[in-house]
Symmetry: C2
DNA sequence: TTGACATATTCTTATATCGGAATATATTAA
DNA sequence: TTAATATATTCCGATATAAGAATATGTCAA
């Protein structure tokens, strides 16, 4: 059997380096397909397809603006990845410090 | 061209759900191949292969113990993923709160 | 309406992967 | 040494991708 479909979850979606670059480029802004293709020196069809994948897993949201299609990051979905990798945080920080930090965050 | 090799970086490695499950199961402990295969109900060869991928990208470290091969998580590598996804943190928390938290962490 | 611009989709080709079976390689115990 | 245990590796078939070219679709401007 082959690997799970790339469109099925955010972890698969960010496995592709160009898709991470696209997310990095978009950052906190709103960008069109052409903006991205120009900046990252990728073909337009390629960018469109990557954006479609990112959209399918909820990593970006879309807004039509005339002829342009503007993409924006959906932070909530990225947070799931951050949270997952954060589960291991206590193994790289001291346990005590972690608990303390958590307690402070609750306040 | 096909996607980049799965063994090339941690992002690719954790794209596979079973590999995430393996990491979750190992957690802060040290586990043998059989431990993992039994717990996650996977075939031994399958587990060995997944562990090899995780090892190639530095997500786990190995220690031979008699007939057993014990695996342990390498938190540093997981941290790179946490840090990457954390770059977008300021988009889901308020910018100010982020800066404040960061400043506090410096102390 | 027609032309130009912006994006999406389809098709093809080359590769990457996964799981499972079978087999090979260690390492300990008798 | 030989058997048993624990892992790793190889080979296979089925599927998933990714890029690029060509084409389709959508939208505005004249």
């Amino acid at each position: 059997m082959a690997r799970a479909s790339t469109t099925s979850d955010p972890f698969n979606a960010i496995a592709e380096p160009r898709r991470r670059h696209i997310l990095e480029f978009i950052g906190g802004d709103e960008r069109s397909v052409t903006d991205i293709a120009d900046a990252l020196e990728l073909g337009q069809p390629s960018v469109s397809k990557h954006l479609q994948v990112l959209r399918d897993v909820g990593l970006v949201s879309v807004r039509r603006d005339g002829r342009k299609t503007m993409y924006r990051i959906n932070p909530e979905t990225l947070r799931t990845i951050h949270d997952w990798s954060g589960m291991f945080a206590r193994h790289w920080r001291g346990q005590l410090r972690r608990i303390k930090a958590h307690a402070e965050e609750e306040r």
